[in-house]
């Protein structure tokens, strides 16, 4: 299954938009072992959006679940860098993994 962000929200700029994606991811993964999230049509994401979507998913389900169950596709270099940095630098995730 593919969740296309632009089909859910007009952008990936705010925490409330991130929450919409979080809800969609959570719902989709209740029916499927893995999903893809496509950023086709979205050029940039903010930390607020990332925190409210992917980091929240990792905090509630574990970093392992984030990495194995969610695939990211059609992501620009800025999006790839933001996701990578946020996951690598999130103290709460590191504490949870410890």
């Amino acid at each position: 299954m593919v969740i296309t962000v632009i089909a859910l929200t007009s952008g990936a700029d705010t925490a409330s938009q991130g929450a919409v994606l979080f809800d969609a991811i959570t719902a989709a993964l209740s029916d499927a072992p893995t999903i893809s999230v496509s950023f086709d049509g979205i050029a940039t994401v903010t930390s607020s959006f990332t925190n409210a979507s992917f980091l929240r998913f990792a905090q509630e389900n574990g970093l392992g679940a984030l990495k194995t169950r969610i695939r990211i596709v059609n992501a620009s270099s800025q999006i790839r860098e933001m996701l990578r940095n946020r996951v690598a630098n999130s103290k709460s995730l590191m504490l949870a993994a410890a």
Partner: protein, 281 residues
């Protein structure tokens, strides 16, 4: 400008809400983009706080007053420009008062395309800058009851730089930082707020990733510089060789809320095309 604001805040303290403030531009010899944004936000803040604000129409068309008029400052506050032949300059994006709900769309649809056109680069080349400004406005929403920010952009082609100034009238960075670090002075609090991972934990999604990414993008990568004004703190961040350093001043005036002045070098911006790939965590 921060001394002017210090005088105004003293006036409000002494006379309370409902005071009258008159701005006289007769002797204005020079104004920078940060000053325009500062004034714009100041006027809107005073009006929101119940003060009556008036501005005189300058009689002499000094360079400073012409710049204000061409930047639509007088049109914003008086309803009409002062001089009939005032025109927005091709190198200026006039001062905008933006509500948070509109900012991200305005960035994508107005600022970034305008700047890309001015600099003859693709919008993709400015994506990091776009995100920086989005992050700053997300912080405005999270830390102020007014939910309004001002932004002004001036391109200096001969100097190969662009100045972007954003301002809000929130509680100010020092007040926010002192919720978790109560002993810090204003400039120290500004510096603390720029450290990666620092957060005031004001809301669950605020994990302190706004100001440090701004400095990484503008100072480290672009080799430009950033000045942050908030309450009595002024801190400038710039590269010194290969290391980013900061210099600070305190107590020279007062800046309610926060004003961020971004000095972007245009000669270090690398034009890139959009690339989309799959991502491995």
């Amino acid at each position: 400008m921060s001394r002017v604001v210090a005088d105004i805040t003293t006036l409000i303290r002494n006379h309370g809400i409902g005071c009258e403030v008159h701005f006289d531009f007769s002797n204005l010899g020079f104004i920078r983009p940060a000053g325009i944004v500062f004034l714009t936000n100041m006027i809107h803040w005073l009006e929101a706080e119940g003060c009556r604000v008036s501005l005189n129409k300058p009689q002499v068309r000094t360079q400073a007053c012409a710049y204000l008029d061409d930047s639509k400052f007088f049109e914003e506050h008086l309803g009409v420009p002062i001089w009939e032949d005032s025109r927005v300059r091709s190198t200026t994006l006039p001062v905008q008062l933006i509500r948070h709900e509109r900012i991200h769309q305005w960035l994508r649809g107005d600022l970034i395309p305008w700047l890309a056109g001015s600099l003859n680069v693709s919008s993709a080349a400015l994506s990091d800058l776009q995100v920086c400004i989005s992050e700053l406005f997300n912080n405005i929403k999270e830390h102020t009851r007014h939910d309004i920010g001002s932004i002004f952009v001036q391109h200096y082609p001969n100097e190969k730089r662009v100045i972007i100034v954003l301002a809000d009238f929130g509680v100010g960075i020092p007040e926010t930082v002192r919720r978790v670090e109560p002993s810090l002075e204003d400039a120290e609090a500004i510096i603390k707020a720029t450290q990666e991972g620092f957060s005031s934990h004001s809301i669950a999604t605020n994990q302190g990733y706004g100001l440090d990414i701004l400095l990484k993008t503008v100072v480290e990568r672009n080799q430009g510089w950033v000045t942050i004004y908030s309450r009595q703190g002024i801190v400038r961040f710039a590269m010194n060789g290969t290391k980013m350093e900061h210099s600070s001043k305190s107590g020279v005036g007062f800046c309610p809320g926060t004003t961020v002045e971004i000095n972007l070098r245009t000669d270090t911006i690398v034009d890139t095309q959009e690339d989309e790939e799959d991502f491995e965590w």
